[in-house]
Amino acid sequence: MSEQKPTRVLSDYDLLRRYEPILRFTQGEIFFPTDIDRYVHQCSLWISHADGTEERLLAEGAVTLDELARPRDLEGGAVLYLRFVDPPSLSKAARRAMKEGGLTGRARRRGWTPGQARLARVGYLARVVDALFTLTLMARGKVPGAVAAIAEEESRAIDAQGEKYVYYGRVFRDSGWIGLQYWYFYRYDDWRTAFEGVNDHEADWETIFVFLYEDTDGTLRPRWAVFSCHDFTGDDLRRRWDDRAQLALVGDHPIAYIGAGSHAAYYRPGEYLIESEIPPLRRVAPIWSWFRNFWGRTIQRGARVTTAGQNLFAIPFVEYARGDGLSLGPGQDKAWEAVLLDPPPSWLADFRGLWGLYARDPIGGENAPAGPMYNRDGTPRGSWYDPLGYAGLDKVPTPPDEIKRLERELTEITQRQQELETHISARMDELHDLGAKRSAMDGFPNLQRDSQQLDERIQTLSVEVRNLRHEWSQNEALLSALAHRLEKRRSGQDDPPHAHINVMQEPTAPEEIRFARLTELWSAVSIGLLLVVFVLLSIFMPHRLLIGLAALVAAFVLIESIFRGRFSETVRVVTLVLALIALLLLVYTFFWQIIIGALLIGGLYLIWDNVREALAGGGTRKPNGQPPSTKPSA
């Protein structure tokens, strides 16, 4: 790590430059972080009215950043948005693209090769959810397939005038932390059409943070890096600066591996199996999670619990963040141009519309995002307004601050302990006095009322003393913990670098499967085939539909398990489920017989056990002839 300068020496701009991240892309990526000026100039400005009609406010070439910021009166439900690809060019370009060899496969032509098929990496239920999701794309709004191809073409045309690799940065100071926030603007997100991902949308804003703190000697020390990744927030997003296993650095520059097409940032290069949750199914996921835990821990004791595909109600997608493409940043293929957002320009603060096409997708994935400050619905974006909360740092003090806070806590609790000891001692005195007084009242019926009042007072005081002692005891434990922590902190010991992480995103190794190509093919066709056979069954064997369906599902599951080398495990699980059902049926059918039988067995066992004990003890003498010792009376 290079020598740090005192805070006052570095301007905000210098700070941004000092720690600016390096972004490594995947081969086949075409859209890179760039400037917004030329993009906006290429766009037209539109409004989607609440009644569904669309109106063009500004034509292509007339839109500027100042125009974006101009206040506009919008009715409720209206959406203001930019449009990078205009409708007239759409149909023309689509026809041309079709002639040139189709709209798909653009990334492959640019050198990208897909990894193991995503559906081959997950189970049936996830595939069913995926099939449903694919079907919904027909019904809900989406970005037309040709748009990506045209966006690529237009983007190339802009870059032909001069390539620019830009980030927009800001520096904020909050609760001792100095946050450097880097915003990256991409003209298009072609994850779905180019990289077999979840969605496509025009425009994309992604962010990366570096959090620093000022040490006691006035030097700045980087502590955390936070890479934005889809909709994830909180502690799991964060990596500590000294975590070499997770955070790679070139000098003071953290390296982010960017997901192909989606532009989500990852700490390590590789392929990530990610789950895209479907909002209506979010409520089902915890139930499934509970069942899975119950099954794993209670029924399937000691069973292997895999991390992949845990949430069966989410769509599995593979994110390619290989880092084998263009690298941007200091000393890399291309260097950054930095733009400081201080003070926030008007386009940032006043334009709450979308930065690209509004596709009318109710789930939102195909609609363009709003700017760094806002969500799609115009509400404030957490990563801008509450960056500490976004990164899970709202509860984390800076290291020097933590020591101060620990010392203060220790002092306060020590004082409180002294107070408690005084209180306890005083109340104990009083209790003893009352106890002595109460004992003296025994045997005097004329003092019965007074003795009852005294009993109540003693009871109240006892409870009070008990609570005080409990608090004292808890404080002692807390004091010990605080002292231990303080000692560690003072001696420079840090927590394990992953202590704050609940779920660590790691690149997935390809699933070990037999007959790889055949399995991929099977995973691609299985759900569709299941649907077709189900329809055939319902036509030709309607009277045995249920049995046929059960047999069909069983056959599919067994075939799948053979491919995955889990035949034995699958047979076990299926048989256990059947045994469980049979057991429940038996219990239901013979409930009273079982109860009576259990009582009989229990009774017989008690008799046998007691008789055995009596016979074994049998004697009233010990083996050495001594009489048994007298038991203490209860």
């Binding site: 069973a303 049995i547 034995s568 048989t575 059947l578 059902i581 049979a582 049926l585």
Partner: protein
């Protein structure tokens, strides 16, 4: 089965799901610590621990019970098969081919003949599973679970058709529970049934 379980418990003090490898406890004789019992070479070295013990030593009692159940199942299936063959007039017929042709021409004949063939195959599979279970072969465990699962599925279907066979269902449930015990799975190999 219950009687056998009870007898086994009273005799050994060990339930089928408890570890079956019982080493003699250390005892002091005349104040001298007893010499540590010698295990086969490599017996406590991870993977080879179970393999170095003899089959009889490492066969859990639960497996013996399941083998017993399977033997009873084979006897019942063979008897059933003999009765079916007898009913079709094939047993002891002087002209077996002629008897076969005659049986084929009856109303239920073809179905019964197919069932006889299927039963023979099933009996052979059960025999193979039983021998494999006895010899603690990993694939036999899977085969046994498959057979039990198939049998339970048939039981459940019959239950839905108001033709329940509760005793058979109970025996199969017990067999599944016994085969799913950790020591049993361990005895059949580490990876059986996802055990780790």
């Amino acid at each position: 089965v219950l009687v056998y379980l009870a007898w086994n418990y009273f005799k050994t003090g060990v339930l089928p799901y408890q570890s079956h490898v019982e080493l003699p406890p250390y005892q002091s004789q005349a104040g001298q610590p007893r010499e540590k019992p010698k295990l086969p070479p490599g017996a406590l070295q991870g993977e080879t621990k179970m393999q170095d013990l003899t089959l009889a030593t490492r066969r859990p009692p639960a497996v013996s019970i399941v083998v017993l159940i399977f033997i009873l199942n084979i006897i019942a299936a063979v008897l059933n098969w003999v009765v079916m063959v007898y009913q079709l007039g094939l047993l002891g017929a002087p002209d077996p081919l002629g008897a076969l042709q005659a049986a084929w021409q009856t109303d239920q004949g073809p179905i019964q003949l197919v069932q006889i063939v299927i039963d023979v195959v099933l009996i052979l599979i059960i025999i193979a599973a039983t021998i494999g279970l006895y010899r603690l072969r990993r694939r036999a465990w899977t085969l046994a679970m498959l057979l039990l699962g198939f049998g339970l599925a048939v039981n459940l279907l019959n239950f839905l058709r108001d033709d329940p066979a509760y005793l058979l269902m109970l025996v199969r449930v017990i067999a599944v529970i016994l085969l799913d015990q950790e020591p049993v799975r361990f005895a059949f190999g580490k990876k059986v049934g996802g055990y780790e």
